[in-house]
Point group: C2
Chain length 410, copies 2
Amino acid sequence: MLKGNAVVGQSGGPTSAINATLSGVIRGCADANKCGVINTLYGMKNGIEGLLSERLVDLCSHFFDEEWLKTLETTPAAALGSCRKKLKSYNDDAQTYEKLLSIFKKFDIRYFFYIGGNDSMDTVLKLSDYAKNNNYELIVVGVPKTIDNDLMATDHTPGFGSAAKFVATTVSEIFRDVNVYTVKAVTIVEIMGRDAGWLTASSALASLAGAGPDLIYLPERSFDTEEFIEDVKAAMEKNPAVLVCASEGIRFADGEYVGSGGQSGAVDAFGHKYLSGTGKVLENIVKERLGCKVRSIELSLPQRCAAHISSKTDIDESVGVGKSAVSLALSGKTGVMATIERCDGKEYSVSFGVADIRTIANEIKTVPERYINARGNGVTEECMEYLKPLIVGENDVKYENGLPLHVIIK
Amino acid sequence: MLKGNAVVGQSGGPTSAINATLSGVIRGCADANKCGVINTLYGMKNGIEGLLSERLVDLCSHFFDEEWLKTLETTPAAALGSCRKKLKSYNDDAQTYEKLLSIFKKFDIRYFFYIGGNDSMDTVLKLSDYAKNNNYELIVVGVPKTIDNDLMATDHTPGFGSAAKFVATTVSEIFRDVNVYTVKAVTIVEIMGRDAGWLTASSALASLAGAGPDLIYLPERSFDTEEFIEDVKAAMEKNPAVLVCASEGIRFADGEYVGSGGQSGAVDAFGHKYLSGTGKVLENIVKERLGCKVRSIELSLPQRCAAHISSKTDIDESVGVGKSAVSLALSGKTGVMATIERCDGKEYSVSFGVADIRTIANEIKTVPERYINARGNGVTEECMEYLKPLIVGENDVKYENGLPLHVIIK
């Protein structure tokens, strides 16, 4: 078994469960340390960006520190810090790869764990290829993370269940709120998800509490203003308070984002267009066309950091997939991502698997057709069955001064 | 002791604790029913609006139903429904008063409990005056409720503590989120509070978790764009991720709302201007002047309905003030509001008191000067001491299918 040190990093947008996965990696490495395989586990501050400037923290002091690890598991956002750096190809930026190699050698790093979304898996792919081509023995394992649930090869992604629980809970509470009055009113909730509607679909779970949205619009279907107005009118016939959940990423038939009206066309480091304002645009459409009271609510950042309402199923699995990544590494797998597989059977259960990184990096898993109703304004029973178990269970969040306790890694 | 029936209603904007107060009134009336004083307790659907159309529900079946009452106490929004109806003066609308009187007589209503904010206390005042002037023996007691904490004569208002806990928790989670990157970025959190900055001030409590905002702007001080830009620049010198909390109600020195830019000047039934967009305006100012990454987040409705993160102190006191309102009524007090008084001593404790409704109705209690720092961009230690105990404690929220369990009153 390859002996040496390990490094773990977090990358991309934070989630409520990304630190649970970090805890899983620490737990796995602690065991490997006991067996004499992994000597030191370093944490890279701000992902690959920090690694390049050797900003490393020694995480060994937290091995077997159960209280600290438990608190880490319900601490939102990347405790090691994150980055949005995308590695260029070797041909375009050989220098960065050479620098990384020299750092790996300097710190005798043989295991590289990277917790992130599809952009981060691209880094895993490039690094594992580079190490192989340069005959440096390095095991590179990706660990999935994204509230968007849009990674291939895994039944669902760590972080999604907690975001879904926040969305469903918040939608159920908003439902109670908007139903106190008797006047006609439309409330539009804008939910994250650039290209995949998983998180928006999870708003349907609020119906399990009798408090679900009337209409749900996902980016997988093109948005039609006339149909939307018809849908709202029909819903209002049944109940004066109409609740609409819409993905930030819905587009018109011509491909233009509904929310791009007020936008500058600015893009992030990966060329993704900055989105916002979808709810506002729908609010204005309703105001103009129906003239009734209307309000839009953008759920915004709390979707990915409201760890106080994280899903126990998600946190447990996030720890599990982190530990599983270490097991995969120890068994010599490289250029792979740890996955979650849903087991067959009536009762929900999962096992942890593995997938070749090449099938994942830069790919997006969208909500399948069979999960969306014919009209394109709601989800199917099959979708509900898929989503239901992911938000089950509450975590034992510790509080101090009335506020959730978080762990800080200096 | 006056014998007969009682009616309870909820009015104005919902809170996470308004049903806890309803539970308190039910608990109080259950005891009074046992003693043979109150026969039936009716709930008016949608406040005074529903009372006028005799939409009453019999609440006696819930007397002593501990499980139901406990779930009611963590159910957000007005379970009886609410309204925004403001009674005109008797001279302007004698008909409505006469109708109400006939309904009181028809249902032998002798006790009238109204849970609401300052607008609702105006209803309490008018009704008690009218009953007196018409020699109809009616005890009218107001029970405070508002996330704004802007009612006179009470140390704080039921509902505020839970909203403050949601705000402080969410701000602490947003702090973790925005601090994962190393790039310069400003995040602006817009918080409810039209005229009083109490809820915005409570964002400072996040500093107890080491995750407080850098800058806090309350409507009690006029907002100066140049000072704001200076403040943001200075904060950025210390930490690249700048977190700003601003009240929706901040105004420029000339009295114009910062957030009124994109507004139509529309007003609600009480003549209050609809506000929104304050965060967006500040976002645009930062974008234009500093050119760095900037995002605004409007906390919106969850501030008043996120009952899953309600404050135990608030819920316990909200039940207590509801019960206290019944005691006041049984002792013959009318035209009054039940209040919360903070006891002297090092340990936080409260007792329940009473205030003449005339000192409360249509008045607003703002954040005092000594609670705001000299620069007007933060709160003082004295303010922190006042706020701290109000968010302490977590409620035993029941979950089903991963969602908070709510009670519904049909």
